[in-house]
């Protein structure tokens, strides 16, 4: 808030991100409910009745192999998932994994649960896992990615649906949901009390794919060393525990482009941690 040109209150978080997250959570939840209603003869007018599989960009990723070799999609996957995959890649190429930080409803729900964890554990929250172990576990999601792609390619079926917490989150009321998915969702939500976004950090195969774009994306998180006060606020705030204060440009594969570390949010010095495209004036 500005009064007579002076900054009296500076927002401490990116509120617009919360709005976007709420929007997509409600949007997907309504579509999922509508899908169930339509199957039982009802339905909400003017709202999509698509299944969750049709609206998941990761479905596009897992069907690439079959599409390339046979020319068909994996069962339950449709053209829409392919389109969303491409849109997701465009966004990630430009801005990094904004899909994870701004759109994905499972990430949003984990953040909501984590708010409770922050209240309980204060500064200890999100620092329970020893650094060495944490560093290793961060690569687990690439193992999950390799496994999902392999089993889908060899079976031609969407085996990951049996374990997918995202599908379970929006289908827990339906007979389509698998026990494995519900268990993993429960464990994820429980862990969210101790760790910020545990599924995203350690297991999400789609996050693994998008995370690679952090190495070459157009818009990067950059820290201006000349004005940096080295107070470490950016690193403390980062939900993915990235040491922003020790790098000039964030290229960590776990960054979700939430912008919470920037001067627009936690960094107290203007234009010091910024989100910019280096070569574009």
């Amino acid at each position: 808030m500005k009064i007579f040109g002076k900054q009296l209150f500076r927002p401490r978080s990116i509120w617009i991100r919360r709005v976007v997250q709420w929007f997509f959570f409600l949007f997907i939840a309504l579509i999922s409910v509508n899908h169930t209603l339509v199957e039982s003869g009802g339905g909400i007018p003017f709202l999509s009745t698509a299944s969750l599989h049709a609206l998941c960009p990761f479905g596009g990723v897992v069907t690439i192999y079959q599409y390339a070799t046979v020319g068909t999609f994996v069962q339950k996957i449709h053209e829409s998932a392919f389109v969303l995959m491409i849109v997701g890649f465009v966004l990630a190429f430009l801005f990094g994994p904004v899909f994870c930080g701004w759109v994905c409803p499972l990430g949003t729900v984990q953040e909501w649960v984590s708010k409770l964890g922050k209240k309980f554990f204060k500064r200890k929250f999100n620092h329970f896992v020893p650094a060495k172990l944490d560093n290793i576990l961060r690569y687990l999601r690439y193992v999950v990615l390799a496994w999902v792609v392999y089993v889908t390619a060899t079976s031609g079926t969407l085996i990951f649906a049996e374990y997918d917490p995202y599908f379970a989150l929006f289908n827990f009321w339906s007979s389509e949901v698998a026990v494995g998915g519900l268990v993993i969702l429960g464990v994820t939500l429980l862990l969210s009390l101790f760790v910020e976004r545990p599924w995203c950090k350690y297991a999400c195969p789609y996050g693994a794919v998008l995370g690679i774009t952090n190495l070459f994306r157009v818009f990067q998180i950059r820290r201006v060393e000349s004005t940096c006060k080295a107070d470490g606020a950016c690193s403390i705030m980062c939900p993915m525990n990235i040491p922003v204060d020790s790098v000039k440009t964030v290229r960590d594969h776990q960054c979700i482009s939430c912008l919470e570390c920037t001067s627009e949010a936690i960094c107290p010095v203007a234009k010091t941690v910024v989100f910019n495209a280096g070569g574009i004036k």
Partner: protein
């Protein structure tokens, strides 16, 4: 060039919904399989929809759109009591008739539609219909072969516990023949009403996973097996093979493995 949160939020919406709108405009956006069956390509019925391509994901409304049989008639045939028969999914029949000794499902709808509209369908495999469907079909024009098949493949209507009562119970005189027809189906079909069923969506990989060797599959197909991820039905359609025949032969091999 610096970017802040608000423009980024706007850009996310533009790219996401712009991408969806663009793909919709280009005809690339589809969130479900097309609900339009393939057509007969040759013969007397060329150009007409082929009931053998009705899928489990179709609703009675989809069947009505393609074949002109009112959803109400379909609901009556399969003893489905609902305010909105057009929304009833064909695949739900399997759940409703789960207690039935013989499988009533998508194949049953294909058979009913074919007989109702006088369209050809391969009768070399066992497909079953409930009594109500048989009663309705007997009012249509059937060939002697179709009547014989129908009499041998009619099963009782579902019980009140598994499905609602028939909206219009068949006349007692007309349903009299059903009980004796129930005794004729073969035992092998009963065995196959488990999870390991060769269906329209089954791939060669699934048959391999069920323990049938590639050699046997190739013997059945009479040709080298394509990419295992290919759906058997797609392959049959592409090669001009009769899917129902191949399906039955493969099912026999699958059942042998059990």
């Amino acid at each position: 060039m610096n970017l802040t949160s608000k423009p980024l939020a706007v850009i996310i919406f533009i790219i996401l919904f712009g991408g969806i709108s663009f793909s919709t405009a280009m005809g690339w956006w589809a969130t479900e399989s097309t609900k339009e069956p393939v057509t007969f390509t040759e013969g007397e019925f060329a150009g007409q929809y082929n009931p053998a391509d009705i899928r489990g994901s179709y609703t009675f409304g989809d069947v009505e759109n393609s074949f002109g049989i009112p959803s109400v008639i379909l609901a009556q045939a399969f003893s489905i009591e609902t305010d909105n028969p057009a929304a009833f999914a064909v695949k739900s029949l399997e759940e409703i008739y789960a207690a039935s000794e013989f499988e009533i499902g998508t194949a049953s709808v294909r058979l009913f539609v074919a007989f109702y509209n006088g369209l050809p369908i391969d009768l070399s495999t066992d497909m079953y219909l409930p009594e109500n469907a048989a009663v309705l079909l007997k009012k249509r024009t059937l060939t002697p072969e179709q009547i014989t098949y129908l009499e041998a493949h009619t099963v009782p209507n579902p019980t009140a516990s598994s499905a609602s009562d028939s909206p219009e119970p068949a006349p007692a005189q007309e349903t009299e023949s059903a009980p004796e027809a129930v005794t004729t189906p073969s035992a092998s079909t009963t065995e196959s009403s488990t999870e390991r069923l060769v269906k329209g969506k089954t791939t060669f990989q699934e048959v391999l996973d069920w323990g049938v060797s590639q050699e046997i599959i190739e013997q059945v197909m009479g040709a080298p097996m394509p990419n295992p991820l290919t759906k058997i039905k797609d392959y049959c359609n592409e090669k001009g093979l009769e899917f129902e025949t191949i399906k039955t032969a493969l099912q026999v091999e699958v059942d042998k493995v059990k």
